[in-house]
């Protein structure tokens, strides 16, 4: 019975997704009502199943494993389709299924006019199934299966509005940034397997004490990279706000409530591992803190409500990471659950807020400044500030009473609980605020529909969570609350946390205060909806304001550092292939444009050789007055020009290379110091030229090429440091080298020579030995 229910919980949504998907591909044979019933019915059933499982787990908290089937085996590696049911996965299942069900109901109204109705209702249950596999799997590889599958669903839902290019770009961005994290995650899984010989949670955790701290840290950091990608932490945080291009219900479900919290789940799940790797845990905490501040500050200046919500999600996720990083896993999980409900509520009411702000004329008339801050919000704010004070007092009290390490760590944990409490309280305040607005503007509904039932239901749930928060969480900071007791078999507060220092505690409280203020201002800001009138003291400073407005230029930074160089490299490499085609087609590569002194010199050198080649046969008669030196030079040159082998190629290459460098240089520095430098260098090379051509010996000719190259390289270096270091240019230079190599490789003769030399060398080596 238990096994069947467990298998059905992800199985039913999967079947629903398949049914709706097939129906959609065949051209919607079934009416929409049936599709809706299939998907939301399946999710409702798995919600009921999850509730039943929760009851079972409460009755008997020992972890249970359910084996569904085998997936693949190779050598010692055996991966199963198996589920692990304990308190952690039970909580996650309940959160996932309940919110998914509410969202499914909400979407019926929301999506009813959309073209991709059946697409939405096949991806939604697919997502639910994938998320359930993620939280239920009993090994890391199955976790990864769910991990990737939710990523694909997220991709499909972000780029849901296919006629919008921005949506498609946002989807691709999210997917690609997640792939970076996934690469780290995979490496972590491999390291796990290499060190433990298994990827199952229970076996891994049993063997964790056997490995040294360094290995555990490496694994922990690799897994963290995966979590950072999925949960949009710094430095991979920039995809989440863009992900709001998708339909609002999917944003609520995937990019606020469930999928993005997968990283928190994974770290809590791996707590045994992280407890053995304090350094990795510290990085988790730092990443979380940095992200919380980043999200909070950037959220201040956003001008549309979905972005505000997205950055608020980023902040909250950062706080969850911080909690994990400080060893307070149960608090992180509680925060996760509470946040899921609140944020869903906020997202689902966002459309009506938008509607009020844009549709209701009286909002503008009355002016933003005159909108009163709701009383409840002020109360919540004061309460939160008070809590900070209480925490401080409590900390002193504890350290007085007990003294030493225990008190310190406890106070840190308490502070964390407070952060969670505060953020949820803030969310509650926001909710109340919105509700207030709704009553104020009750008469001005224009929209497609009044707030649907599901939202009111959610509101109820949110209120419930708020109550639970007020009663359950405050003691939740201290050991012994009901939630901690329930989670204890799966996750427990790390007892081995190093004692907190004064500095650390102060920093933490500072962070808390910043967050409070940022949250407060954010609320005001959204009410005002006037980006050009920031009444915010913080951002009088224009620069700081710009910095924040541009999201710390993270996107641009990534673009300049990674995306564009790679792109350029690819372009350059690509052009090589076309060059090779030209070579085969018999057309020589087009000569480079020449403009600068050095280039001209090089060109002249080459031209004189070519001329020599033509003139030489009749040269003796045409120029009887020439000195023997000159004659010799001509002969040498003629001979040289005929050698079209490697030397000829080298000449051309160096000419091309200098030409390219010069063109680049000139393009970037039209005059001034650069020009003078060119003049100097060309003067030097002219001197060389004279000296060399007059000498006119074969050896010196080659020397000339060498000098030309050196001077070119010299110029390149000078200009790079002289102007500014540009990574893209450096990479395209690298590409230039590759192009030459490839051009060479493209020639049959060269390939043949390489092969022959290779074999000869081998034979020689063998004979020698």
């Amino acid at each position: 019975m238990f096994d069947i229910v467990v298998a059905a919980i992800p199985g039913l949504p999967l079947l629903a997704a398949l049914a709706n998907g097939v129906n959609g591909v065949l051209g919607e044979r079934y009416p929409r009502a049936l599709q809706v019933r299939v998907s939301s019915g399946a999710i409702l059933l798995s919600f009921l199943g999850a509730s039943w499982i929760l009851v079972q787990v409460v009755l008997d908290p020992s972890p249970r494993e359910v084996l569904i089937g085998r997936w693949f085996t190779s050598g010692d590696l055996a991966v199963n389709f198996g589920f692990l049911i304990d308190s952690l996965s039970a909580v996650m299942m309940l959160v996932t299924t309940s919110i998914s069900f509410l969202i499914a109901v909400f979407s019926i109204d929301y999506m009813h006019n959309e073209k991709g109705f059946s697409r939405f209702f096949s991806v939604l249950p697919l997502f639910v199934a994938a998320m359930l596999v993620l939280v239920m799997g009993d090994n890391y590889v199955l976790l990864f299966l769910g991990w990737e599958a939710v990523g694909v669903c997220s991709y499909m839902l972000i780029s849901f509005y296919q006629d919008r290019t921005a949506a498609a770009q946002a989807g691709t961005k999210a997917f690609v940034m997640n792939r970076i994290g996934d690469a780290g995650f995979l490496l972590g899984i491999f390291l796990l397997f290499a060190n433990f010989g298994t990827t199952g949670y229970q076996d891994v955790f049993a063997r964790v004490p056997d490995v040294d701290t360094g290995t555990a840290t490496a694994i922990g950091l690799c897994l963290l990279l995966g979590a950072v990608g999925k949960s949009a932490q710094l430095p991979l945080a920039t995809w989440l706000p863009r992900a709001m291009e998708g339909p609002t219900p999917s944003s609520a479900l995937i990019h606020a409530a469930t999928m993005v919290t997968a990283g928190v789940y994974m770290i809590s799940r791996s707590q045994v591992l992280y407890d053995n790797a304090p350094d990795a845990l510290l990085v988790v905490a730092l990443v979380g803190a940095a992200t919380a501040v980043y999200g909070g500050v950037v959220g201040l200046v956003q001008t549309d409500i979905k972005s505000v919500l997205a950055y608020s999600t980023t902040t909250q996720l950062g706080l969850m990471f911080l909690a994990c990083g400080l060893g307070a896993y149960p608090i992180a999980i509680f925060h996760l659950a509470a946040h899921a409900f609140f944020k869903t509520y906020l997202f689902l009411t966002a459309p009506s807020i938008l509607h009020h702000l844009h549709g209701g004329a009286d909002v503008k008339e009355s002016g933003p400044a005159r909108q009163p801050v709701p009383a409840l919000f002020t109360v919540a704010l004061m309460a939160s500030s008070g809590l900070v004070a209480i925490a401080l007092l409590f900390r002193w009290w504890r350290s007085d009473m007990i003294g030493g390490a225990a008190g310190d760590s406890l106070s840190i944990l308490l502070a964390l609980g407070l952060i969670a409490a505060f953020s949820s309280a803030f969310a509650a305040a926001r909710m109340a605020h919105v509700a207030l607005q709704d009553t104020t503007h009750g008469g001005h509904h224009h929209g497609p529909s009044p707030i649907p039932m599901a939202v009111q239901l959610l509101g109820l749930l949110a209120a419930l969570a708020a109550v639970g928060l007020a009663i359950g969480l405050l003691p939740g900071g201290a050991p012994g609350s009901w939630f901690q007791q329930f989670l204890a078999p799966a996750v427990a507060t790390n007892p081995g946390i190093p004692p907190g220092s004064w500095v650390f505690a102060l920093l933490l409280f500072g962070l808390l205060i910043v967050l409070i203020f940022s949250a407060w201002f954010t609320t005001l800001y959204v009410d005002r909806f006037r980006p050009e009138q920031p009444g915010l003291m913080f951002f009088r400073r224009r620069r700081l304001y710009n910095l924040v407005l541009n999201r710390f230029w993270l996107d641009e930074l990534y673009g300049a550092l990674v995306v564009r160089p790679v792109w350029k490299l690819g372009r350059a490499l690509d052009s090589f292939d076309r060059n090779v085609i030209d070579w085969f087609a018999g057309a020589a590569p087009a000569p480079q444009k020449v403009r600068t002194a050095v280039e001209t010199w090089e060109e002249r050198l080459l031209a004189s050789r070519a001329a020599g080649a033509i003139v030489a046969p009749s040269g003796d008669m045409a120029m009887p007055t020439s000195t023997w030196e000159e004659e010799e030079r001509r002969e040498k040159e003629a001979a040289e020009a005929e050698t079209t082998g490697v030397i000829g190629w080298l000449t051309r290459t160096s000419a091309d290379a200098t030409g390219w460098v010069e063109t680049e240089v000139e393009r970037h520095s039209p005059g001034g110091g650069a020009g003078r430098l060119i003049g100097t260098v060309s003067g030097v090379s002219t001197w060389f030229e004279k000296a060399i051509i007059e000498r006119s010996s074969d050896l010196v000719n080659h020397l000339a090429e060498l000098v030309a190259r050196i001077s070119a390289a010299f110029e390149r270096i000078v200009f790079q440091s002289g102007i500014h270091v540009e990574l893209p240019r450096a990479s395209s230079r690298f590409a230039g080298v590759l192009i030459r190599t490839e051009e060479l490789l493209g020639k049959r003769l060269v390939i043949g020579l390489i092969v022959a030399a290779w074999l000869l060398a081998l034979v020689a080596e063998l004979l020698w030995s």
């Binding site: 693949f72 694909v152 006629d163 691709t172 092969v755």
Partner: protein, 503 residues
């Protein structure tokens, strides 16, 4: 190392491999003499389906998880020459046979769209190509293998020049043949050296794989033979510096038929694991670092170039180069995960690489060259086509649940045991793969339609849908029910591992 041989007559009662080899020849002759044009397709299709049925029988009758060579047939050897007609399958080549047969069926199904004019010759050439491929995969005699390896050039040349789409197809075909002939000449030299060595050891010349396994090769000779044969396979695969023929052939050549075989059937890397590694284990060990470096280089190089392609066919050529790098990494990691992953990845590429060429063919028949400048917003008009691309591309990216995941990640696991940097490089490679496939998807299938795009673009027709469904089915089959595939190959791979590991 002595491999046990189980003869076909004992195992199944009839020479199934010879049947697989000569049935296409029979069909070709039949096609040649058929008077009625109407009968050409049905006959070819029937022949291809019969091949697939035979290949499936072979695959299901194959005893997995043992190192024995099964369904063996042997005639000869010819006295003095030492060449024998020796066929057989083991865990290394068993899966290639059904994949080849499946691809042939799909190509024949598509032939009605691909070659409207002169379908008879097109089908004959395709079946001839199929026969040489099967021959190369099931030969256990090195000279026999070499003969099929070279014979394959004849129908290829014909297909490229006759049904190629590019203006420079003659040149591309010539280049292809030149490269292949040069490589196979070196390879023949290596094979003869092996035979002479066997003569020195056992008193008679032999090119038989099973015999050669018994004859130890001196370490110095191993290196020379290794590289002689390596060049032959490396050009075919293609391995990184020897790849320059490939984008041209794939861009200029026929839309579907030839390209599918070229991308899908990894004869080059098959040669590595079939002949090079077991026969020359010392050299393979000594030069593993070089092979691994070439693998990493090819993987990253191909991926970066694929990133900026606007033409799907060129993109796929470089993506194929990149995937070849992954296979090399797996094979030359010399552990069970790597070998298994590499081999599985070769099978996967038979589905995904070839599958994307089918998609490119579908596109070609609608918009001409599948270039981004002529695409954009296809999803609105052709959802089936879009879905086909997306599913196959995601399998290429290595999403869990598709075959690509298991192959690619076993390779990474194998690489990790050699050096962590290999696994990291492979990780970067998979990341870039996601970038270029999704970038193309974003530009070509979503986005805004280009100006030149026909307002009424037909979605996939019945036969094309059939092809898409077959490929999708295979992708998820390998991805979700991987154990039978891994079991089929594991016995022989363990034997290979022993041969290499014993040193």
């Amino acid at each position: 190392m002595v491999l046990k041989e189980v003869f076909a007559l004992e195992q199944i009662g009839f020479p199934i491999l010879s049947l697989l080899l000569f049935l296409p020849v029979l069909v070709i002759i039949l096609l040649h003499f058929t008077r009625t044009e109407k009968l050409v397709y049905p006959i070819a299709l029937l022949g291809a389906v019969a091949e697939l049925v035979l290949a499936s029988i072979l695959a299901f009758a194959f005893v997995p998880n043992v190192a024995d060579v099964q369904f063996v047939e042997q005639l000869g050897p010819i006295p003095w020459l030492g060449v024998s007609y020796h066929l057989g399958v083991d865990g290394i080549n068993i899966l290639f046979v059904p994949v080849t047969a499946l691809l042939t069926v799909l190509v024949v199904i598509y032939a009605e769209y691909a070659a409207k004019a002169d379908a008879r010759r097109y089908l004959m050439a395709t079946l001839a190509l199929h026969a040489t491929m099967i021959g190369a995969f099931v030969s256990l005699d090195l000279v026999l293998f070499w003969i099929f390896f070279v014979l394959e050039l004849v129908p290829s040349y014909y297909l490229i020049t006759r049904w190629g789409t590019g203006a420079n197809r003659e040149r591309a075909a010539r280049e292809y043949v030149t490269f292949m002939l040069a490589g196979s000449a070196l390879m023949l030299a290596g094979i003869i050296a092996l035979g002479v060595n066997a003569h020195a050891h056992a008193g008679e010349v032999s090119f038989d794989y099973v015999e050669l396994l018994r004859a130890p090769v001196a370490s110095e000779l191993q290196t020379i033979v290794f590289f002689l044969m390596f060049f032959g396979f490396a050009v075919k695969a293609p391995v990184f510096p020897f790849h320059t023929w490939m984008p041209k052939v794939l861009e200029e050549g026929p839309v579907v038929g030839m390209s599918v075989f070229l991308v899908g059937l990894k004869l080059g890397t098959y040669g590595f694991i079939r002949f090079l590694i077991p026969l020359l284990p010392d050299a393979a060990h000594r030069w593993a670092w070089l092979m691994l470096s070439l693998g990493v280089a090819g993987m990253l190089y191909g991926a970066v170039i694929a990133l900026v392609q606007t033409n799907l066919r060129r993109l796929l050529a470089f993506s194929s180069l990149s995937h070849m790098g992954v296979v090399m990494l797996g094979l030359f990691a010399f552990n069970h995960y790597g070998l298994q992953g590499g081999l599985l990845q070769m099978i996967n590429l038979g589905i995904t690489g070839a599958g994307l060429y089918f998609v490119a063919g579908f596109l070609y028949s609608r918009i001409g060259p599948p270039d981004l400048s002529a695409m954009g917003g296809l999803v609105e008009r052709a959802p089936w086509l879009t879905a086909a691309y997306l599913i196959i591309a995601l399998a290429g990216v290595g999403l869990p649940g598709t075959g690509g995941f298991n192959g690619e990640h076993l390779v990474m696991l194998g690489g990790l045991q050699v050096h962590w940097a290999i696994a990291v490089a492979a990780g970067v490679g998979t990341f870039l793969t996601a970038c270029y496939f999704l970038w193309f998807f974003l530009q070509g299938f979503i986005g805004s339609p280009s100006a030149g795009l026909a307002p009424k673009l037909p979605d996939l027709r019945f036969r094309e849908r059939l092809i898409g469904i077959a490929l999708g089915f295979m992708i998820f089959w390998i991805g979700l029910d991987t154990i039978p595939f891994l079991r089929a190959m594991s016995g022989s791979l363990r034997a290979v591992e022993q041969m290499v590991g014993a040193r």
